[in-house]
Amino acid sequence: MKYLIIGASAAGLAAAESIRKYDSEGSVTILTEEDYLPYSRPSISYYLKGKVKESNMALRKPAFYKQNNIAVVTGAKVTAIDRHSKTVKAGRKSYAYDRLCLATGSVPFVPPMENVSGKANALTFLDLAAVKEIKQMANEKTRAVVIGAGLIGMKAAEGLVKICKSVDVVELAPRVLPSILDEKSSKQVKKHLEDNGIKFHLENTVVKAVSKGKQITAVTLKDGKKLACDLLILAVGVRPCTELAEKAELEVNRGIITDTQTMQTSDSNIYAAGDCCVSTDMLDGSKKIIALWPNAVQQGTVAGAQMAGADLTVGGTYSVNAIDFFGLRICTCGLINAQGDEYRDIIKKDGEEYKRLILKDDKLVGFVLINCSQNAGIYTSLISNRISLDTLEGDITDAPSIFLFDKDTRMTKLRGGVQI
């Protein structure tokens, strides 16, 4: 059996490992257009500010691939999938497959702006190659402008603020981190980021850039303001990378459509996993792109197992994310932007700590925790296991612990059912 995987991040690597678990014989090949063995993309901002070394960004030790007989072909940009001959084309080479997994991830979404495209100092913030370029360009004289105050933009800004003279962030929404924070909590986070040297221009956009040859020197905002700019980071957002799937006429609707349980696409020999796919949120049944690491690993693991003929299925998909900015910790899970009368909030604020629990009927369906994420995984398990809050013993608004559960449940969790 020939297994081929396109993409070498969370989902692609998980698929390769999973295939190997169920099939020790077949050939497993990962194709990546990047020049590196699988590495941690979320670590790029830490690399930028010097907190991690490049060698520590590797997701697995180099020996791992040899030990597990997994071939990784770097610098291999796939340009086409031929479903009839079951081959993919990368440059002049073609690779045959019996089972194919698309783990192509996301691509940056860059809105049209006048005079920005093709400029040497306008870069996205998604991969190691781009960050290496940014690291070379940025210095103590650099005036950086980041477009987008989402997770990627803010991580870029955090990394740059240590190096650059100034960092301005331009965001269309009226608040920072609009996808994970409500109005109240985003005010707190914005202040913390401002205290650490980031300047915001909210409800604003970059309309055009002023340039000298290939170099942008300033940007003009919607409200007419002009910002001097030596480095422009394009971090408005990402969208699923579906180009190959579309060209191969697989079913695509925003993301690649797969069977929710098996990750099989509309072609029975092709699977897909991670940010490039449409996921079904188990908490409200909605179809969405869940571009988060744990989801990608889960889907990759299932896709790999299914490709190798094993009977593993996706248990349930939901969003969970943890991130920190200058020591401020944000942890979110579930339906944090739920709208409708069936949802109610419990909000608890105490100094720098902010806790928002989102409930539906007798269940927890989401949370936002700022500076109070102690044991947050217990909340996550209440959400993912759909535990009725009526069965709990403690106060759910306190820091969660094993004592939220009754004695039998506590013992099962701690002993795994073992009698001692």
Partner: protein, 146 residues
């Protein structure tokens, strides 16, 4: 593999397990220094929850299919194939705490990076050795049937 098992009915909430865990994970291995002077301060990887009526020590279950390993965004959290111990590579961890966000028993401690029970490397752990009333046992994961 051998793991630490807690007996809630014997725990008296003395929290000595925390003291000895913290000390064993300090540079000096000295209780006073671990608590009073070491910088960065060492972190206890076990914690006692509850009150005087009922309490129990919680540390890592070293799960067969660990949620923390699957969720780790840097490859820092791994489960050793031979020993079964789940541990953090401190050079790779960036302290994002995604592991903490998915651990269903609540055993990951937050610092500048993630801290968790490493079973003291595989010898009888300090918490078990120093539990005064045998509320913590060091047993094969299959346990001893009572």
């Amino acid at each position: 593999m051998k793991k630490v098992f807690a007996r809630e009915e014997l725990c008296i909430n003395c929290r000595l397990c925390e003291v000895y865990c913290k000390t064993n994970h300090s540079k000096s291995k000295d209780v006073i220094k671990a608590y009073k002077s070491e910088n960065p301060a060492p972190v206890s990887r076990i914690a006692v929850y509850g009150d005087k009526v009922a309490s129990v020590a919680v540390n890592c279950r070293h799960c067969d299919d660990p949620a923390c390993v699957n969720a780790c965004i840097t490859g820092a959290m791994t489960k050793d194939k031979k020993t079964g111990i789940v541990s953090v590579n401190e050079d790779k961890c960036i302290g994002c705490m995604t592991c903490l966000a998915v651990c269903p028993v609540g055993c990951i401690k937050q610092g500048n990076i993630a801290f968790k029970c490493d079973l003291c490397g595989g010898e009888e752990p300090a918490c078990v050795k120093n539990c005064p009333n045998r509320a913590l046992l060091w047993l094969e994961a299959g346990g001893v049937k009572s």
